[in-house]
């Protein structure tokens, strides 16, 4: 049997576990409420209606997507280990990286479905309010999805060797830092901050630069977004995620299940 078929089995089971989890539906419900709230918010800022629908809609998709990626992602891997369900799976002729990648693919599949649902709801709000969707919104949603796939890879990487609490904290910290890397680098380039420059440059080039994947503001403004930029950012997210999964698989293969 090919490793691909086993990956498929792990991914399918992960997806099935997630869709049977009530937490997911609660998060989706809140995301829907937040997108719908843009209609009320737009009434408070007359003249900025379209910008508010787009801003709030994209922010809701990104925020709740991130919550699902971090909490559902970490929880799903942690549960397999803490509830010992991993024993009967890994005692079969499977490679541990197949298990880890299968979990990742299942989660990414879940994120794809979850983003599709939220995006459909977002587009429905735009359609009802007569605001036409733009290509930029589509690219922004694609990059949100890739950012979430990268955040999931970070969560899986930390979960492969540490406790769920620490994995959650580390992932959240990297998500925050990842959105501030541009500012961190700018700080190191300031006059008088030369001593910090090696550190800020190191952080800028080594940590996942999530700012690079964030085009929500430009898309909400209706600006034209270059395809090359979207392509390079997408490639960056895919390669960074792949590197994290390789490192996570290596650490997971050395883990003892006591």
């Amino acid at each position: 049997m090919s490793g691909l078929a086993r990956l498929g089995a792990f991914a399918h089971n992960t997806f099935r576990e997630a869709v049977r989890d009530k937490l997911l539906y609660n998060l989706l419900l809140f995301a829907g409420l937040m997108i719908a709230s843009s209609v009320v918010l737009a009434k408070l800022h007359v003249g900025y209606d379209e910008r508010i629908y787009r801003d709030v809609g994209l922010a809701a998709i990104a925020l709740f997507g991130t919550l699902i990626a971090i909490f559902v992602g970490i929880n799903l891997l942690h549960r397999e280990i803490s509830l010992h369900t991993v024993y009967s799976m890994l005692a079969k002729p499977v490679q541990r990286y197949e298990f880890l990648l299968g979990k990742y693919l299942g989660l990414v599949g879940l994120l794809a479905v979850e983003i599709s649902i939220m995006a459909s709801f977002f587009l429905a709000v735009l359609w009802i309010k007569g605001s036409p969707p733009t290509a930029g919104l589509g690219w922004a949603i694609q990059l949100i999805f890739l950012e979430l796939a990268l955040v999931t890879a970070i969560a899986i990487f930390f979960s492969s060797f540490t406790t769920p609490y620490l994995a959650g904290m580390f992932t959240l910290a990297l998500w925050i830092i990842g959105h501030l890397l541009g500012d961190i680098r700018a700080f190191g380039l300031q006059d008088g901050a030369e001593a910090y420059k090696p550190l800020t440059e190191f952080l800028y080039w080594c940590l996942p630069n999530l700012d690079r994947l964030d085009i929500k503001a430009e898309a909400a403004d209706g600006k034209v977004i270059e395809l090359a930029r979207v392509g390079l950012s997408s490639l960056y997210a895919v390669l960074y995620s792949a590197a994290l999964l390789v490192a996570g698989s290596f650490l997971f293969s050395r883990r003892d299940f006591r």
Binding site: R16, T85, Y87, S88, A91, K92, P93, V94
Partner: protein
């Protein structure tokens, strides 16, 4: 031919903030031969589960080596043809029994048509024919144990490693599992199992290994380990008077009154013959007369007693 072979298998864990070392398995050697039922016996914390986890690739050995079907552990190929049931009843409880078996069948590479045919058969075999569409979350502990066993039987493996397969089962369930294990042996399978229910192990096993504090204390065929010598004779009688009871008590190691019945544990056959003669002469009724051989429990208890005596004397020397 050895299906499982282990030489000097050892595991050291580092635990806690100070990274203290703990060594639950200290150089285990095992030889499990094809077509046998092998019991891996020991008290809690003796190292049984850690050894099993090393054999199944869940824990990496610190030193030593093991092979399954000649393939070094922990290579995934060593787990081909192996069915494993872990201790406890930890399964995906959001799945139905049928979905659970289907998922595990997919991991083993069992084709869909074969899964569709074999899953109902397995559910029938483990006594869950009507529970296949029920979520595992709603299963009782005994039902979880049975679905775990069905999972281990998927793909018709040659070797079964069962960690406490009788745990959590009622007497009927235990009997069913015992019979299933014997049927599997008759079908040519090799079964390696742990149990703390020594009577079950004694009924089933060809070979046993007793593990204490991470080391194998005894390893061999039951007949060799327990011997054939009679360790005593149990005599159960009725309708005897007080004077005869007192007389028989003098012959016995222990006497127990059970309602109208009297049980005498006699030290040997000579004492048994004498006691039997006394009862028959006095007109008493003999209910049973059975020789008592050394049991696994006797062996394990004597090992544990010797171990605690050694620990006490070492403690005294240190003081």
């Amino acid at each position: 031919m050895s299906v499982i072979q282990a030489r000097g298998l050892r595991k050291v864990f580092r635990t806690g903030f100070l990274m203290r070392t703990v060594e639950p398995v200290r150089g285990v050697d095992l030889d499990v031969r094809e077509g046998e039922i092998f019991g891996f016996i020991g008290p809690n914390g003796a190292g049984k589960t850690t050894t099993i986890k090393m054999l199944t690739g869940l824990i990496l050995p610190s030193s030593g080596e093991a092979t399954i079907h000649g393939v070094p552990v922990p290579l995934p190929e060593s787990r081909r043809g192996l069915g494993f049931m872990p201790e406890g009843t930890y399964f995906h409880d959001y799945l139905t029994g049928r979905e659970f078996l289907d998922f595990h069948g997919r991991l083993l590479g069992v084709p869909r048509a074969m899964r569709e045919r074999s899953i109902p058969e397995l559910l029938q075999k483990v006594g869950l024919p009507h529970a296949g569409d029920l979520r595992i979350r709603r299963y009782s502990k005994g039902m979880r144990q049975r679905i775990g066993l069905a999972q281990a039987l998927l793909g018709d493996p040659d070797l079964l490693i069962l960690d406490e397969p009788m745990s959590g089962l009622d007497p009927i369930g235990r009997k069913d599992v015992r019979e299933l294990i014997l049927q599997l042996r008759d079908a040519g399978k090799t079964i390696f199992f742990t149990s703390h229910i020594l009577a079950d192990a004694e009924l089933l096993c060809d070979q046993v290994a007793i593990i204490l504090k991470g080391q194998i204390a005894h390893h061999g065929y039951l007949g060799e380990l327990l011997g054939q010598e009679i360790e005593g004779v149990d005599l159960v009688v009725e309708q005897i008077d007080e004077a005869l009871y007192e007389r028989l008590k003098q012959e016995a190691r222990r006497a127990v009154v059970q309602g109208t019945r009297y049980l005498f544990e006699l030290p040997d056959e000579a004492h048994a013959e004498k006691a039997l003669k006394l009862v028959l002469e006095a007109g008493g009724r003999v209910r049973s007369l059975s020789p008592r051989r050394r049991s696994l429990e006797d062996l394990l208890v004597s090992d544990l007693q010797a171990d605690s005596a050694t620990a006490r004397s070492e403690g005294e020397v240190e003081r």
